[in-house]
Amino acid sequence: MASGRGATRVRGRLARLYAALEIPGDLVLDLARVSVLGAAQALVENHRGLLEYRPEAVAIAVSGGTVRIEGEELEIGVVTPEEVTVVGRLRRIEFERG
């Protein structure tokens, strides 16, 4: 547990350092990038797999947690090793620390 907390602390410091140097975090910290196109499409890059999929909700594992997308008539557009595209009527996107 302590080692996990230590790793989180190190990551937090690195994140502040990269932010100060204006280096994109998704490149060096393995962070997910979520892009939203209106309320119709969400693109999650750098994911770690699909956790849940229902027409009302999609959960996608990413580094440091889960991206949860809620809405109506949700469909998975494409799943590749790099990205997941979710289309439908999007209502809410939230990040759950895991």
Partner: protein
């Protein structure tokens, strides 16, 4: 878009999966390098699509995760080919359709003219048709360079032409010969206006220089009409007084001298001609496929509603067992008949007027034309035509400022 085309080319399968760990299945398949797309969740099952080659990986992962999967659909080019292979007639139809499309795109369907303002576009299109460029021309056998090279020869008022092909549309772009604008002449040198032709002066307008002729004068070619060397008397002297001091000044004469001009033409008219018929000039092109002695009209009317003659061109050759034949169907010429002297005079008048009018400059007009029969043989009428025009006959002729005149 490219991804969708790639998926269609490589083929895809639609899979229905049932079980508890469906998300893991999709993630595992994606991790294995196979994109999963168009996934839809239902209460008890998921359906999703994946490349055709991903099916073994899907089945293996489903087995590992304890899921049941079944293929509920297939699509893409491999599937289409498989279906066509099961129906030879459908395959033949598809191939025939593709062949037809290819054939249709191998011909020129539209010919357009750009850049012509003085020369009528129909005249350019007619000349291009004579050179082989017309709707229906087979693109591979079209010699564009030859058409572009010979168009200015057939129509001398064109200085150059180019032919470009955009799909099934051919565009003839032309440039017309322009008369050199007067302002391009060196305006600083003094000059007279002289007569370009013999004529009877009807109007003189001198914008610069001194008129040397008046309306009613008969002038010969080369005669000075407006002088560029102007004589003047100093202020306070009477110009009519011969003792008044004279001074000369050289200018570049400008103006317009209109005159009646007569052109003599001799025109020969054939004594026999073919009567115009409603079908004259009508025609169309049709395409035929010859297969082992049997013919199939691919495009074009079967029977024209007029007597006709046909000229054919075949690819690859007329003797091939399978050949595409282009037929140019034209109305048959009516029988020849005798031309009356009045008709010959009228035809000669039209020919002469058209010839003279073609060489006239801007603002000129044909006033009248009279024709007289001078020769009559069994084959031809010889007609002398006098065409009277009214036109500006002035042209600039420079002279040296220091020359004694």
């Amino acid at each position: 878009m490219a991804e969708k085309v790639g998926r269609w080319l490589s083929g895809w399968v639609r899979v229905e999966a049932r079980g508890a760990r469906l998300a893991e299945l999709v993630s595992a398949v994606a991790r294995a390098g196979h994109p999963v797309f168009a996934a839809r969740a239902a209460p008890d099952a998921w359906t999703f699509s994946a490349p055709r080659g991903a099916l073994p990986a899907i089945e293996a992962e489903a087995l590992r995760l304890g899921l049941s999967v079944r293929v509920v659909g297939r699509g893409g080019l491999p599937e289409l080919a498989r279906r066509l292979a099961r129906h030879p007639s459908l395959l033949a139809f598809g191939l025939g359709l593709a062949l037809l499309l290819w054939l249709a795109s191998s011909f020129v369907w539209i010919v357009a003219v750009e850049g012509a303002s003085e020369v009528p576009a129909p005249a350019i299109l007619a000349a291009a048709r004579d050179l082989g460029l017309a709707p229906g021309a087979f693109r591979p056998s079209l010699d564009r360079d030859r058409v572009a090279r010979l168009l200015p020869v057939l129509i001398p008022r064109l200085s150059w032409a180019t032919v470009s092909l955009r799909g099934t549309r051919a565009v003839i772009r032309v440039a017309e010969e322009a008369e050199p604008p007067p302002e391009l002449l060196p305006a600083s040198r003094p000059a007279d206006l002289v007569a370009r032709r013999d004529g009877l002066v009807t109007d003189v307008l001198a914008l610069a220089g001194q008129p040397a002729v008046r309306p009613g004068d008969i002038v010969a070619k080369g005669q000075v009409l407006v002088r560029g060397r102007v004589e003047a008397v100093p202020r306070g002297y009477d110009p009519a007084d011969p003792r008044a001091p004279r001074m000369t000044m050289d200018v570049r004469a400008r103006g317009e001298v209109r005159a009646r001009v007569w052109y003599h033409r001799y025109v020969e008219v054939p004594a026999r001609a073919r009567a115009a018929t409603p079908a004259q000039g009508r025609g169309f092109t049709r395409y035929r496929l010859d297969v082992f002695g049997r013919s199939l009209i691919l495009w074009g009317r079967r029977e024209p509603p007029f007597p006709f003659v046909v000229s054919e061109r075949a690819w690859p050759s007329p003797t091939s067992p399978v050949a595409l034949v282009r037929e140019d169907v034209r109305a048959e010429a009516p029988p020849a008949r005798e031309v009356s002297p009045d008709e010959a005079l009228a035809a000669a008048r039209r020919t002469a007027v058209a010839e003279v009018a073609g060489g006239l400059g801007r603002g000129a007009r044909v006033v009248r034309a009279t024709a007289e029969l001078v020769v009559r043989t069994a084959d031809v009428y010889g007609v002398a035509v006098l065409v009277e025009t009214e036109e500006d006959i002035a042209e600039t002729r420079e002279f040296a400022p220091s020359a004694s005149r």
